[in-house]
Subunit: 141 residues, 2 copies
């Protein structure tokens, strides 16, 4: 049911500093990183670092109510925040998760890639917050 | 310099239970999971869950001195432990990391995939423990 590992989400105090890490320490060119954008409704700024087969999503809190703030209080330097897998159809995935008793944290909403996403509570997946992201078939081939 | 995102490492109290999560909740067939094996020198049991483009590495403590035990004390249900990127040549990668002032946590040693690996301290990468894994060129194509 899950497809590709679309990205690993990493919460950071500063996207600019994190981009510099991937550029200066790990040799990822700026051209492989997206511009930093904002999702105010979700309280985040974000950017993607592209590697050959997947992406790192850098996430920074936006606004006082950002859910990322609490994470950074516990992990002041940043840390791995979630893992995102692609699914074919988000409502089918949501229904399948609910039917299996998983805690789906939100109604499908538009995520950082412009397609609908849901999050599954870490208690259902060995302490890992899982994002499921609807992905057009062409992008999954 | 870094290549593919080879895997995301997830520390879990029980690999068997975690395999069941990926099978029963996320629909990954048993045939896409490796047998659970041991690396006694590193104090871990491990197995890989294959997805279309990458892998999840499940890691369980092995022995009283396992470095995974402390992680699980802080995260009793498990959690994201490291991100592994492929590199062409481990000694070149090690030397480049040291030249840039990063804290390389070990001499290159044989990892779960049978090729040499090093780990970079989380303080150098926004709180994320990074594994660099030498990968034969054919496997990176």
């Amino acid at each position: 049911m899950i497809g590709r590992l679309n990205h690993v989400g990493i919460a950071v105090p500063s996207i600019d500093a994190a981009k510099a890490t991937y550029r200066d320490l790990y040799g990822v060119p700026e051209s492989a990183m997206t511009e930093t954008r904002e999702l105010p409704a979700q309280g985040v700024r974000f950017a993607f670092v592209n590697v050959a087969n997947s992406q790192i999503e850098l996430i920074e809190p936006l606004g006082a109510e950002s859910p990322i703030r609490k994470f950074l209080e516990r992990n002041p330097n940043g840390g791995q925040h979630h893992v995102c897998f692609e699914v074919e159809e988000i409502y089918a995935a949501r229904d399948a998760m609910l039917a299996k008793g998983a805690a789906v944290l939100n109604e499908p909403r538009i995520g950082a890639h412009g397609t609908p996403v849901i999050f599954i509570h870490p208690k259902n997946s060995n302490g890992v917050l899982i994002e499921l992201m609807e992905t057009p078939k062409a992008a999954r081939a």
